[in-house]
């Protein structure tokens, strides 16, 4: 059963700030969904290969050549806080 501590831990991993009420509601809803999902335990999957993709394509390569890419200004244009050619973020290193 998923605990409140699990919810808080997962919210930190997922970079989601949840209010107390939100976290409690999330715990209840995740518990219900996980209880449903647990029906997969009824099946025997011993020796079954996992499927990560429906179509068996492997190692799609192209020549290692420089190709045109989008201009830097176009990629910066949508940033909430651009700084010249860069993205500005809050300070991450202490003084």
């Amino acid at each position: 059963m998923i605990s409140r501590a699990d919810v808080d831990h997962v919210a930190r991993l997922a970079r989601l700030t949840l209010s107390d009420a939100e976290a409690e509601r999330m715990r209840e809803q995740l518990a219900a969904i996980l209880a449903y999902i647990n029906k997969l335990r009824e099946l025997d999957v011993e020796g079954v290969e996992p499927t990560s993709h429906a179509v068996p394509l492997v190692n799609v390569f192209r020549e290692d050549e420089v190709q045109p890419s989008l201009p830097r200004e176009a990629m910066i244009a949508n940033a909430p806080e651009p700084a010249g050619e860069l993205f500005r973020v809050p300070r991450i290193i202490e003084d």
């Binding site: 998923i2 989601l16 700030t17 290969e49 179509v55 192209r62 176009a74 949508n78 973020v89």
Partner: protein, 487 residues
């Protein structure tokens, strides 16, 4: 001429252009006028690109006048789900976190439609990040079903399906991850096709669950689906999962006979959760197909009942990874914070809606240390079993016939419980897990006058077979004669 151009299918509109009975500008103006008059009530569009549409229509006018059209889609007014990046046109994916985002490039499907001369009318509403089955989870507004405005259009491509059903676009593109093309097509009485995984490029499609996302057409009839699929299908080097298979002439494939076609009817789809009216409609459809010379047999897809559980592990797991990019740095919303983690966490808390948060949490949980094998690893193995079910079935039958949804369109606010909402996709999800093509066509009406969806499922890359059978059924039934009363 007096015909309302917005009522025409794409192929009828193209024929009218060729016969000189209408022009792309006239059709585009007719659609823009209808959108202006009615879309406040339907809510199909998030963005209407009127000026760009007029310019594209004028260019198509000139090509048609010179008798040099680019092809059968030249000058046809279409809509794109707001999940597709469109250069210079706001693309939100139904989310506050992307409010105001203007992509610097086009999705491959948008590029191909533009190259075919299609006129884009605008971007359609959707459940946020394509997570939902009702289009009630758009951050901006709900979409309403043109057949009954108190009901949902289905989702997540609800805006596209409602726009096509309400004659607010000649056709539209949607995406299907767990049923998001077929379920709204069923609820709105349109045709909706989910192609084989890799058949249509995902480049420029805002990712939800990368191993399950399929772009595809939503149209007024099967011939239009064949036309639109032909225009968007094919290999794209910019999508590494795009498959280099030749694209057949889907329109030419419509004319074959279905005599001798072996149809399988999965017994697991006729459970107590299925609305008896829908069960009856499917059985009547089988009768029609038998009358055309097809044979039917009962088959078994034993893992049907586990598909949804697999889906609700794999899709959220992939989503939790794909949506990590919305961190308040590169695009979209930013909420200030005292450090980088605080800024990202506050941005995501403010920018994502409840359903998206729930799936990110679920996906992060099933991938986290200690749970990976029990959930994600096991789900991937059961996905193999689901795929194997279909492979075994297709050893004995050519197509599978099933209901698209367990019920008809429900009322707004009727399914508040997330799990109740998820159960809508019980008949569509297994097909996404297997990556095989499926189509939903109009299969009749409920006593209350709501459309019922009939689903046909084919082996990988057999879209032509799917379209041929769907077309034969459509031609043999009167269902397309009815249209919703929107005025």
């Amino acid at each position: 001429m007096t015909t309302d151009l917005t009522r025409l299918t794409m192929h009828a509109l193209a024929a009218a252009y060729r016969a000189g009975e209408a022009t792309p500008s006239q059709a585009t103006e007719a659609y823009l006028a209808r959108i202006a008059a009615l879309d406040t009530r339907v809510g199909g569009y998030l963005t209407v690109t009127a000026e760009a549409a007029r310019a594209a229509a004028r260019a198509a006018d000139a090509r048609l006048a010179a008798r040099r059209p680019l092809g059968p889609l030249d000058g046809v007014p279409l809509a794109l789900k707001d999940v597709f990046c469109t250069r210079g046109v706001t693309t939100t994916c139904g989310s506050r976190i992307l409010e105001g985002f203007v992509p610097p490039y086009d999705a491959t499907v948008a590029e191909r439609l533009a190259a075919a001369g299609a006129v884009m009318l605008g971007k359609t509403n959707m459940d946020e990040f394509a997570m939902g089955s009702s289009t009630e989870h758009s951050a901006f507004k709900p979409t309403r079903n043109p057949w009954d405005l108190s009901r949902v259009p289905g989702g997540s491509s609800g805006g596209s399906a409602a726009a096509v059903a309400g004659d607010l676009a000649a056709a539209a593109l949607g995406t299907d991850t767990g049923g998001s093309i077929r379920q709204p097509a069923a609820f709105c009485g349109t045709v909706g096709l989910k192609p084989t995984y890799g058949r249509v490029s995902r480049y420029g499609l805002i990712a939800f669950a990368s191993s399950l996302d399929h772009p595809g057409p939503i149209t007024k009839d099967v011939r239009d689906t064949a036309l639109l699929l032909g225009a968007i299908a094919g290999h794209d080097p910019r999508d590494a999962t795009s498959v280099p298979e030749p694209v057949p002439d889907y329109v030419a494939a419509l004319d074959g006979s279905v005599a001798g076609l072996r149809l399988g009817v999965p017994r697991e789809y006729f459970t107590e959760g299925l609305d008896p009216e829908i069960a009856r409609a499917v059985r009547e459809a089988l009768e029609v197909l038998r009358g055309l010379g097809a044979t039917t047999t009962e088959i078994s897809l034993p893992t049907t009942d586990y598909g949804l559980a697999v889906y609700y592990i794999i899709a959220p797991a992939e989503a939790s990874s794909n949506l990590a990019r919305y961190d308040g740095v590169k695009y979209g919303l930013r909420v200030p914070g005292r450090d980088l983690i605080d800024m990202s966490s506050a941005t995501r808390a403010a920018g994502f809606g409840a359903e998206v948060k729930r799936r990110i949490m679920l996906g992060t949980y099933v991938l986290s240390a200690g749970y990976y094998d029990a959930y994600y690893g096991r789900a991937q193995k059961v996905r193999t079993l689901v795929k194997r079910d279909f492979e075994q079935a297709f050893a004995a039958v050519d197509l599978i016939v099933a209901p698209t949804t367990p019920g008809v369109a429900f009322k707004h606010g009727e399914k508040e419980d997330p799990l109740a909402m998820y159960l809508n996709d019980v008949f569509t999800v297994p097909v996404d897990l297997a990556g095989i093509p499926a189509i939903s066509v109009r299969g009749g009406f409920s006593a209350t006058g709501l459309p019922i969806g009939l689903q046909l499922i084919a082996p990988a890359f057999e879209e032509a077979r799917l379209l041929r059978a769907a077309h034969a059924y459509e031609q043999a039934t009167p269902w397309l004669e009815r249209r919703p009363e929107l005025s």
